[in-house]
């Protein structure tokens, strides 16, 4: 790794452009990365950051513009050429093979040719990992590592490439928790001191403020702002450059305090206007839904759900859940879900979220413990849980809920709308009518019933699966990462639906990696850490930092 001097420009782009059909992902991007500096690229989801990075890493070929390295124009496509030129990239979805050991993964990426490896590679690996504080055990298979460790491995891997000088980090802190982020930024500082050029792609403004030497802001494929640290920048300036004139529609916090007084007020005969209610919350919902929310106890009750006040709907008692390899993933789990409450589950990815969600949907048998729903124990497969009134929105609906070639109507019939028999077969006409009459489908802007579900966009698939769950008016809804990868409009629509569902009595268990979302929507929070379920915590009495601490270190004695 050569020292270019503190002002040596490692890489420069001029007018970089990339198109996909009629969509322009990047337009006229000018960028420069100097050695020994951290250059942040800021932008929302969909602003074109990842396309830009893929061009710099050789995955895409630019449609316009030039890239210069060491003052000379270069072609960085395919990735092998980018690597030759000394560009390394730490991906957001780590390029690691879980079944192989850390050393094997490093040998694959950083080795060369067909020769034998091992001894010297291991030495170099340990050397680099200690130099930058990235501790990793070389002989452990990757599937046993948690996300933070995997990221450290990924970084070590990148640093071990022969002549790497410029490192691109793609949203590196999205998998880390506040305390780990600190350590990560410190490591970046070490790399900067050693003269690496660092390109940091992120949407987190705080990180930029904390450590970047230079920032470029992308919006809708174009560069809207560029500045160096000494020129001075503010968070507001960055935000407005990221978002433009658009202001996001706020989904206000659940008025937790407001709910109880309303019921008390009603019982004691006081008019409910005494309790302040922000109007904007119900601004875009149909009037019938609004009145249903304002008068929850008058609403038609759910099948089998007691309508007398808040009560326990689901209880997991002393649960132990095993993972895919037979190892114990969670133990001594006690969880209660109450009617009309949203319980948010926080935790670093890989702490048993998937397994817990699957257990509560009936897909995964409990190793120990019992699940009671509405007072009755439930055991068996998904069928039993479905009949007990549980609905599930899985983490990856495209993979787990969509049947190739089947229409939306058929999907709704699979789990949502009750089917009627017609002679030997299914009465599809009746099903279609039921679907078109349902307001849940309308509220979520569900696409037309005859369209094939496997051709829908991610957001539309999510809407479909959620609408299906809502139509059933379930007692319990287990929803995993509903906002992942979706645009703001869809996310807000989904969040509104979840609030509405809770207000009408469903108990919701919400898994999310977005602490803001969890705080916004939840009545109670629990944390998964160290094979345990910690909590519940009241969101009003804690904050993101303390929850983050729980996520990372559990309950401090």
């Amino acid at each position: 790794m050569e020292n270019q001097g503190s002002n040596g420009v490692l890489l420069r782009t001029v007018g970089l452009t990339k198109r996909f059909g009629s969509l322009v992902a990047n337009q006229g991007i000018d960028l420069a990365v100097k050695a020994g500096t951290i250059h942040a690229v800021l932008g929302e989801n969909g602003a074109g950051k990842s396309t830009l990075m893929k061009m710099l890493y050789g995955v895409y070929k630019p449609d316009g513009g030039e890239i210069y390295m060491d003052g000379r124009p270069v072609t960085l496509h395919p990735p092998s050429r980018a690597r030759e030129k000394g560009i390394g990239m730490v991906f957001q979805d780590f390029r690691l093979i879980p079944a192989m050991t850390a050393l094997d993964n490093v040998a694959l990426a950083a080795g060369s040719g067909w020769r034998f490896r091992r001894g010297s590679l291991r030495e170099r690996m340990l050397e680099i990992s200690s130099k930058y504080g990235l501790s990793v055990n070389p002989d452990v298979p990757v599937w046993q590592l948690d996300l933070g460790q995997r990221q450290r491995l990924e970084i070590v891997k990148t640093l071990m490439a022969p002549n790497v000088r410029l490192i691109i980090f793609d949203e590196p802190t999205s998998v880390l928790v506040p305390q780990e982020v600190r350590a990560f930024l410190d490591m970046l500082g070490l790399l900067r001191k050693d003269g690496f050029g660092i390109l940091l792609i992120t949407h987190k403004i705080d990180e930029v403020l904390a450590c970047a030497d230079e920032v470029s802001v992308l919006r809708a494929g174009r560069l809207t702002y560029r500045a160096e640290r000494d020129e001075g920048w503010t968070a507001e300036r960055l935000v407005s450059a990221m978002l433009g004139e658009r202001t996001p529609q706020p989904v206000t916090k659940r008025d937790r305090a407001g709910k109880r007084p309303t019921e008390e007020a009603r019982r004691s005969g006081h008019p409910s206007e005494e309790v302040p209610r922000p109007e904007s919350r119900f601004a875009d919902m149909p009037p019938e839904a609004v009145s249903r929310m304002e008068h929850p106890s008058e609403e038609t009750s759910h099948p089998g759900c007691p309508s007398e006040g808040p009560g326990e709907v689901l209880r997991l008692e002393n649960g132990a859940i095993a993972g895919d390899h037979g190892e114990l993933v969670l133990e001594s789990v006690h969880l209660t879900l109450r009617r009309g409450e949203i319980t948010g589950v926080a935790g670093i990815s890989g702490n048993g979220q998937r397994e817990l969600a699957e257990a509560l949907c009936g897909l995964r048998r409990l190793k120990r413990g019992t699940v009671t729903i509405g007072g009755k124990p439930v055991a068996g497969g998904p069928r039993a849980f479905l009949e007990a009134g549980v609905a599930c929105v899985p983490e990856d609906p495209l993979r787990e809920s969509v049947v190739p070639g089947f229409t939306i109507l058929e999907h709704m019939a699979l789990e949502g709308i009750p089917l009627r028999r017609r002679r030997m077969g299914i009465d599809w006409r009746h099903a279609r009518e039921a679907l078109e009459a349902s307001e849940e489908a309308r509220a979520l802007n569900l696409a037309e019933a005859g369209r094939r579900a496997d051709r829908l966009s991610g957001g539309n698939v999510q809407r479909m699966v959620l609408a299906r769950a809502l139509i059933r008016k379930p007692r319990v809804l287990i929803v995993s990462y509903p906002s992942r990868g979706l645009d703001i409009g869809t996310v807000h629509a989904i969040q509104r639906q979840l609030i509405g569902l809770a207000e009408s009595g469903t108990a919701i268990l919400l898994f999310s990696e977005d602490l803001d979302e969890l705080f916004k929507l939840s009545d109670r929070l629990v944390v998964l850490f160290g094979k345990r379920l910690l909590g519940p915590y009241d969101p009003a009495e804690t904050d993101a930092f303390r929850i983050g601490e729980r996520m990372l270190r559990g309950e401090t004695a």
């Binding site: 390029r95 093979i97 079944a99 694959l108």
Partner: protein, 303 residues
């Protein structure tokens, strides 16, 4: 008598063992080849025919390998270039191989060759029991025994092995490292076909010294099953193959001893044994399927 069975196990199991080592390479890269049976038959006929024409069994073995490799090329093209379903393509290849060799081999049915004969290794073969069992075999069997540790070493201790395994686990990662997974898979499938061909050649040139239509009688299928039984590890695949061979060798012993068991049950035994072996290891195997391969068995994650 035990020594006889063990010796027979090795000798009879070699053809299966070679084919299963080859299939192991292919499956580690993410491609399952049910047409291994066809490749073995191609190798058996090709090897036999070449030995008849040239009198040189070594050329025969080589030719057998090439014939098997040629057949596996069809499978590789269909699966890797045209996206065909791996199981369907393999089965068709098996069917094709049986048909082609039945036809082309007509004139070789009554031919006789010298071929490979057991070559006792001096000194080592004099060891009581062990010597006879291990060191009194034809050259191809010796080669196959050496193949196993060599394959193990390549798979787990060299970068080639890592690249191969990566192709079968996560091809995107391999591609990101600048290696074309498709090329790796081509090489793996061809290697599998080559070894299956040599396995077939061993059957005709070294074991039976003859050619009969459909003479592998399902050994290729057993080889594929053995790879699964072995959880994709070379030494265990060797064990499975010799287990099959032992069941076969048992047939002869039972007949020689005049035991009143219908020969047909003995014929069945090796296949039933294979199924039983699969049952036993099912639990353990679950976590060691190469990821890429598990997607081939679309209906089930592990089987």
């Amino acid at each position: 008598m035990i020594a006889d069975i063990l010796t027979g196990a090795l000798r009879s199991g070699t053809s299966v063992m070679l084919a299963s080592q080859g299939e192991l390479i292919s499956e580690r890269a993410g491609v399952i080849n049910l047409g291994t049976e066809g490749c073995m038959l191609a190798g058996a006929l090709g090897g036999f025919a070449t030995t008849v024409w040239t009198g040189n069994p070594w050329l025969g073995a080589l030719a057998g390998g090439l014939c098997g490799m040629l057949l596996s090329l069809i499978h590789a093209c269909l699966v890797l270039d045209r996206g065909a379903n791996q199981l369907a393509s393999g089965l068709t290849l098996m069917f094709f191989g049986i048909g082609v060799t039945a036809f082309l081999g007509r004139s070789f049915v009554s031919e006789q060759i010298v071929g490979f004969n057991p070559v006792p290794i001096p000194v080592l073969s004099d060891i009581p029991v062990l010597g006879e069992v291990l060191f009194n075999h034809d050259p191809l069997t010796y080669l196959s025994m050496l193949l196993v540790p060599a394959l193990w070493f390549v798979l787990f201790r060299t970068r080639i092995g890592i690249i191969l395994r990566a192709a079968g686990e996560r091809e995107e990662v391999l591609f990101a490292c600048g290696v074309n997974p498709r090329l790796v898979r081509y090489a793996a499938v061809l290697a599998g076909g080559f070894l299956a061909g040599i396995g077939g050649a061993q059957l005709s040139v070294a074991y039976t010294h003859s050619w009969v239509e459909n003479m592998t009688a399902g050994r290729g299928v057993v080889a594929v099953a053995m790879v699964i039984f072995a959880a994709w590890r070379p030494f265990r695949a060797m064990l499975g193959a010799y287990l099959f061979g032992a069941a076969q060798a048992l047939q002869l012993t039972v007949q020689q001893q005049g035991l009143p068991i219908s020969p047909y049950f003995l014929f069945m035994a090796p296949y039933v044994l294979t199924l039983a072996a699969l049952l036993i290891v099912e639990r353990r195997k679950r976590s060691s399927v190469p990821e890429g391969l598990s997607r081939v068995f679309a209906a089930d994650a592990d089987g």
